[in-house]
Symmetry: C2
Subunit: 144 residues, 2 copies
DNA sequence: GCTAATTCGGACCTTAGTGTCCTATTAAGA
DNA sequence: TCTTAATAGGACACTAAGGTCCGAATTAGC
């Protein structure tokens, strides 16, 4: 549901968000801090830059910064460049049920996928820095 | 979250469950009915048999049957042989937060993964045949 | 201007998931 | 007994994700 690359991206973005001063952080420094594969993280950060999540400055003392305030950056925007969380299969049965006649697993499963998507869209990077929002709770229709 | 192979397995098992008489259904027939890659589905059915989800009989007029009543067969048991739905990463941040000090995304995300797992465990193949159970509903803590 | 630090971007490798193909084995029925 | 239909199971191919490596371009500071 979330790829390894997406996890790397999230970790890196959170580290950048924690950085109070405006100086950039190099890919190598991020990788060392988080103990991630440096070369691959560098590639991942490049993709984040192309997607506008981070900005970069080249040369000595260069590195990466968040491209926008952490409050305005949803987890979905960080993860989407790696095309993970957008529901690719509409339903459990492989997406061959049309909306008019959904398969019997459709409602159950779309509840999960939609709530996952919503959490990623409604949670900002800043939310994860100092978390005090109430978390989502699940209940079944049979419980009520 | 659920692999292509798992989807194939679910579709095949549902087809077997719909079969009222006790005669087995061949892999080729299942593949034709569902329009799935026949050779790969055959391999998938073999894995289901090893895992005890279906039973097989060889030779002419052989094929596959459900190994147990559809009521007693959870979706999780069908999907687990393909190691998909068991939460491999405990949290969004790559699982490096220990339970005592969960990362800030932990509660949010585990809500999703646990509800997904619970749906797969609580829903039987029979439930999907004639669906009349109330579906899960989601609400946020902020709504109440 | 030179050097060091850094991003940029492409080439390449490895592995797992998916898919194909072929041969051996088994069993039903003529 | 022979033929035919089926599972069993291994070998192999393809693709994408994850990961490594290297050279080129860029920039700060000396």
């Amino acid at each position: 549901m979330v790829s390894q690359t997406g996890i790397y991206a999230l970790q890196a973005v959170l580290l950048l968000a924690r950085r109070s001063d405006g100086s950039p952080l190099s890919a190598a420094a991020i990788a060392q801090e988080l103990d991630l594969p440096a070369d691959y993280l560098a590639k991942t950060l490049r993709r984040l830059r192309v997607d506008g999540v981070v900005s970069s400055s080249r040369g000595a003392h260069g590195g990466y910064r968040l491209a926008c305030p952490a409050e305005d950056l949803s987890l979905a925007r960080v993860l989407d460049p790696f095309e993970e969380t957008r529901p690719r299969r509409v339903c459990l049965m492989g997406g061959r049920c049309d909306p008019a006649h959904p398969c019997s697993a459709h409602d159950r499963w779309s509840t999960v996928t939609h709530s996952a998507r919503r959490i990623l869209e409604d949670t900002s990077v800043a939310d994860l820095l100092h978390d005090d929002r109430p978390t989502l709770t699940l209940r079944t229709g049979t419980d009520s």
